[in-house]
Symmetry: C2
Subunit: 312 residues, 2 copies
């Protein structure tokens, strides 16, 4: 495997995936799954959410999981935090990067975090201040959810998404990405909105977090790649969705996304065979849960040589 | 609905779909399914193959099915023919368009039609001659299968695919398209090969026939659209594959493809609600068969307005 990569695949399964299933994965199983993901060559992972355990019992062990992930070398360990209280706990646990969800849809913001968009911008500002004081090396990411539409309010104005990204950048977010929380995005919209995002906030433009709800996940990733996006969220086995956005389901499948990029000659640095093997660890931790992925089912094509193996 | 369209969706379910399932759909059920597809606004359909019934019993009633489809106004009725004998029968039945599969992979050609590539070019030439004599208004399409790789021989040289397209055009094919029979294509390859195809044979460049075997179907369609392809094969419910290419499965799902284009502002002329309703006719004719489609499962997004409904 080459050490040079062209895109960064950010695995969100342990956070976005687990929060969407009813079962609670035992801590030991989470550790084994995270180990398998690391062994496959992933270099960024969102390992959990710092939220009250009564709201998401799946995340009760998040601090322990973070400590485990930090013991593995050469990757960025992220956690989702909805507010400064969560950020304090995440920084105490030692995460490398915080991500805060900020809804472009007012209806979704209230449902998801019980705060308005504007209150969430203030929250990001407060988290940045906290970070500056206690852990200046930690990155703060804002992820604009429902950026491409909302199951509660329908269409979301693109101007509002871009204005929100500008406000978040002014509030101190190092990166601001766009999330298709509800699986409503299409490739033309993805190209338009990420192009506008880069024009508005330049190098602060962050990851594409796209869902496969209507089968367009990879097409939307391709569209984002075409306009310069180089960080992509994905979830092993397509686990995940959003528990507070009715009908939202299906993160982009990491295995399929990595196969697409590697087949195109775009290096992810990820070993596909080991990535497929990580599915066993996921299955062992969540028996009975549906795991998706077309490439794992079909297998790799005869004679397939991934770009990352070419050692360019 | 507007009558202007930007792309042509060519439904291949009654041919490519049915040939891949063991069950034989009753003729009355085929008629009802074809009626439902026509009612949804499809304007091109491949209704069957003129092949010996002992090889594909699913197609024993093809002449009757062609006659039924010809009774519906305003669309192009196609049939697959592997040779002049099939072409004679198809022309006698009155089809508007013939399509001949020509494998870029020698191994697949022998397995699929028991002829070499070169023999198939001769077959196309003979079919064109027959057409010229007996039905000059009928179009002849050549579809280059395994154009993006072969499950039997592995990689297929792009130069050979393009040379084959030139030979087919010289042999008189009105259109030559490229088929990802085995689901091995990636978006970079799709862009490269369709760009070369157009450079080589200009306006004779035909349809993209892409599969979703590894989840890349829509991304590959987007890639083809990006480089100017405007005709796309797809199959309702994703029914289909190729019985002679081991591991090949999963035509692009018509419903998901139409949703992607309509969401992007690209007019297909197809009514998504009626297209979804056509799934009932398919299910009724093939009870117990798996039917795919992410958009039908998720439903249309809240507030969704298809491009074809805007009446531009």
């Amino acid at each position: 495997m080459t050490s040079r990569t062209d895109v960064l695949i950010s695995e969100v399964g342990p956070r976005d995936g687990l929060q969407s299933v009813a079962a609670v994965m035992p801590t030991a199983a989470k550790r084994a799954w995270i180990d398998a993901l690391h062994a496959a060559g992933l270099r960024e992972i969102e390992v959990g959410s710092f939220v009250p355990a009564r709201l998401l019992p799946q995340m009760a062990d998040v601090a322990e999981v973070v400590r485990h992930a930090l013991g593995l070398p050469g990757w960025t360990v992220m956690a989702l935090v909805p507010n400064t209280r969560g950020a304090e706990a995440a920084l105490a646990a030692g995460v490398h990067k915080l991500t805060l969800p900020v809804s472009a849809s007012q209806a979704h913001s209230l449902a998801n975090v019980r705060k308005t968009r504007e209150q969430m911008v203030d929250e990001v500002r407060a988290v940045v201040r906290l970070r500056d004081q206690s852990a200046p090396g930690v990155k703060v990411e804002a992820a604009i959810s429902t950026a491409f539409g909302c199951t509660l309010q329908g269409a979301v104005a693109e101007d509002e998404v871009i204005r929100l990204a500008e406000q978040l950048t002014q509030a101190g977010a190092d990166e601001t990405g766009l999330s298709d929380t509800t699986g409503m995005a299409n490739p033309a919209q993805v190209r338009r909105l990420f192009t506008r995002l880069r024009a508005a906030i330049g190098a602060h433009a962050g990851a594409a977090h796209l869902h496969n709800t209507r089968g367009l996940g990879l097409a939307n990733c391709l569209a984002a790649y075409d306009v310069g996006v180089r960080t992509f969220d994905a979830s092993l086995g397509g686990l995940g969705g959003c528990p507070y956005a009715p009908g939202a389901s299906g993160n982009v499948v990491t295995e399929d996304l990595v196969f697409m990029f590697e087949a195109m000659g775009v290096r992810t640095g990820i070993d596909l065979a080991r990535l497929m093997a990580a599915r066993d660890a996921l299955r062992a931790g969540l028996p009975g849960e549906a795991i998706y992925g077309m490439t794992p089912e079909a297998g790799l094509p005869k004679g397939f040589v991934p770009a990352s193996a070419l050692g360019r």
